[in-house]
């Protein structure tokens, strides 16, 4: 297998982008990533795009072809990947594998989602298509799934609503320092705790944002990366694992098996331990999800995620900063774009260009996305290639 680098990265400013057409979002992210890579677009041999709800929310499917066309390279193979929230992370992984195994040299990875096209109930119905048909009928919506985990985690480990709120407060704070974030204001713990209930014990501020966003990366072989960009970022690991799709079929509601399995594979591939990771972007679709993830990723022992958050260990100046970008909570959750956006944050932090939210001495950066019910987990680990 060849080593693979990210040689270009860009994301647009995320938010409610009602006036910006889907393909304008793609074009801006992709063109600026190509410019960042310093590569001629005609050298790109494939485009892998992550998008979850193109048909339902924008009326546009076949986004692979649409993307290649708008970028002026219509004959380049261009494919869309769909796996709910992890769509973008999977597009990245497929690009990594194709380059690692010598199929292509240069691949453009795009993540895009335009969510704010309809009324809230229709948007929630679109998101609910990520769940099993019978679960949807039974009344499952995204907050309910993760509330089932929150109730169990609170019961088994004494995790508190205050600790959940501290995840949101931290991520809002980080988002306030990120000019690309959807939401750039701090929110007090009191306001978070007093928000209306969505699915007990999760209130409105425990939920991530409904965001429009796009992000893009250019990947290539590590050996020639510096011919294009003086600050390439190497991909040390790419791992993926699945889980039972129907919500009631799980062995545990305090842990995501797919994350534990993928994490083990990722650490082995990179030849590192969880404690070697400097910082991470992890799937905080709901506050409880971040607490469970930082345990399943091995950053903290099972059951101690809430305590770690309370002790400030995941804040920007903590032992292992988590979601410096603001995460899905504040940077926003543009479903198919989120996994690619996480890597833009990894590249920005590793290059030392994250401004006010810059983490000190970043060496190893981990990105992690859940997808589906959650029935899939995708993990990548990055380090400087210069």
């Amino acid at each position: 297998m060849r080593k693979v680098s990210v040689i270009g990265a860009h994301e647009i400013k995320w938010g409610v982008l009602k006036e910006k057409p889907l393909l304008d979002m793609v074009s801006e992210a992709a063109n600026k990533a190509i410019t960042d890579a310093g590569i001629d677009r005609y050298a790109i041999q494939a485009i892998f795009l992550g998008n979850a709800f193109g048909e339902i929310l924008t009326g546009q499917a076949t986004l692979g072809s649409a993307t290649a066309n708008i970028l002026g390279i219509p004959h380049v193979p261009s494919i869309r990947f769909e796996c709910a929230c992890s769509s973008g992370a999977i597009a990245l992984r497929e690009a990594f594998l194709n380059i690692a195994h010598g199929v292509y040299d240069y691949v453009l990875v795009v993540g895009v989602e335009k969510m704010n096209t309809k009324e809230t109930p229709q948007i929630l119905s679109a998101i609910a298509t990520s769940f099993d048909f019978y679960d949807q009928k039974a009344g499952i919506v995204a907050p309910a799934v993760f509330a089932l985990y929150a109730s169990a985690h609170m019961k088994h480990f004494g995790t508190t609503k205050e600790q959940l709120a501290m995840v949101a407060e931290k991520n809002y704070y980080n988002g306030s320092l990120n000019p690309n974030a959807h939401y750039q204001k701090q929110v007090s713990l009191e306001e978070i705790l007093n928000a209306p209930m969505i699915a007990e014990p999760l209130g409105r501020h425990d939920c991530s944002l409904v965001t429009d966003g796009a992000a893009a990366l250019v990947l290539g072989p590590a050996e020639t990366a510096k011919n294009y960009n003086s600050q390439p970022i190497n991909i040390l690991a790419s791992a993926i694992a699945g889980d039972y799709y129907r919500v009631a079929n799980r062995d545990s509601y305090v842990s995501f098996a797919s994350t534990r399995i993928a994490a083990r594979q990722a650490y082995e591939m990179a030849g590192v331990q969880p404690q070697d990771i400097t910082c991470a972007e992890t799937h905080d679709c709901f506050t409880i999800t971040e607490i469970i993830n930082i345990e399943d990723l091995g950053f903290f022992p099972k059951g101690e995620g809430g305590r770690a958050v309370q002790d400030g260990e995941t804040r920007l100046a903590g032992r292992i900063p988590v979601n410096a970008s603001g995460g899905l909570k504040a940077k926003g959750h543009a479903i198919g774009a989120t996994g690619v956006g996480q890597v833009v944050e990894a590249v920005t932090q590793l290059r030392g260009k994250a401004g006010e939210r810059q983490i000190k001495n970043v060496e190893l950066f981990l990105t992690h996305m859940l997808g589906g019910s959650p029935s899939i987990s995708v993990i990548h680990i990055f380090a400087r290639g210069y």
Binding site: K137, A138, G139, I140, A147, Y149, A199, E200, L202
Partner: protein, 107 residues
């Protein structure tokens, strides 16, 4: 009121259980081996949530729970609470189903 019966399906070959009938077992591919069996009426709550902003066809709020039926199978269902509290490990009884799914009540 006659007790509601929750039917499950089990593969005669690999013993996998299902809540929905099918022409073949998805796990082992065996055809014509799924047989109907009666699941226990009594179960306990593995975890639960009360949903205040959920699907528009159910009156809000509604309580959803993962129910363990005697270690045989776990089922997602709505729990009729009748104003009572609810907790993990609490005992519930199968109360039937409607067009949306299975319904349980607190024992």
């Amino acid at each position: 009121m006659s007790a509601a019966v929750l039917t499950g399906y089990k593969c005669n070959y690999c013993r996998q259980t299902y809540l929905n009938s099918s022409d073949l077992c998805g796990k082992c591919g065996s055809t014509a081996s799924l047989f109907e069996f009666e699941l226990p009426d009594d179960g306990s709550i593995v975890t639960f949530t009360t949903v205040w902003r959920g699907v528009d066809y159910l009156p809000q709020p509604y309580t959803l729970a993962v129910i363990d039926l005697g270690g045989e199978i776990q089922v997602l269902g709505r729990v009729k609470r009748g104003g009572q509290g609810i907790a993990i490990n609490q005992k519930v009884r199968y109360a039937g189903k409607d067009e949306y799914g299975h319904i349980f009540e607190l024992s």
